[in-house]
Symmetry: C2
Subunit: 129 residues, 2 copies
């Protein structure tokens, strides 16, 4: 059993790590690549993904983002030409999303920043999610 103080200390510690790392990531990605963290993470999943396109639904699946927020994130990426939407012909309710060549390039650049920030600011021990 865990004492209240213990609980709070652990939570504070988690908060501290999260805020430090996420803050640094947000700033670095924004300043150097004009991307929000959400935009980068979306791009990342698209680029890392085997096939070249994924349905919104599948994307949303492993992101911590509401469906509506993902939809708007893809809007923003599409407007800047980093991503392309295409109707899924098999099920016309669905929408495929794929990174464009430009998107792939931007992702590769930003990924270096992302990893560098993690290397600099992520504490060595992490919780077992």
């Amino acid at each position: 059993m865990m004492s209240e103080v213990d609980l709070i200390e652990r939570w504070r510690s988690l908060l501290t790590s999260y805020n430090r790392v996420s803050g640094q990531l947000d700033r670095a990605l924004q300043e150097r690549h004009a991307l929000t963290r959400t935009e980068f993470e979306t791009l990342d999943r698209l680029v890392v993904w085997d096939g070249d396109k994924r349905r919104m639904q599948d994307l949303a699946g492993d992101m911590y983002l509401s469906q509506s927020a993902l939809s708007r994130t893809v809007d923003r990426l599409e407007k800047r030409g980093l991503v392309r939407r295409a109707i899924c012909e098999a099920d016309r309710r669905g929408v495929f999303v794929a990174a464009t060549d430009d998107g792939v390039r931007r992702h590769a650049e930003a990924r270096r920043t992302y990893l560098a920030v993690l290397a600099d600011h992520l504490p060595p021990a992490a919780p077992r999610g």
Copy 2:
């Protein structure tokens, strides 16, 4: 030295923990007490604080919140009568903030929820911030 995969795994793990716990906290505090997490945390610092009042500045010091966001959080708490602002006579630029009796009560109730959520959802191992 840490491999890229390692870094990303650790970060994902931190993200997972943070999102799970903060999401549960947000929902529980909102549904059961009509408080945002930020509002609770602000109230918490005011109540736990030795004296009965603190300057905005000191409050902001140990919160992960911009100065403007804190100012507006105090606005909201004040509007609901959970907190009181008072000009600091010694330095009239400063503003004291103190929890009202009502604020103290609301905090005590919400704190039980807060701790219960932590006990249920905080993973046992936490990073060394």
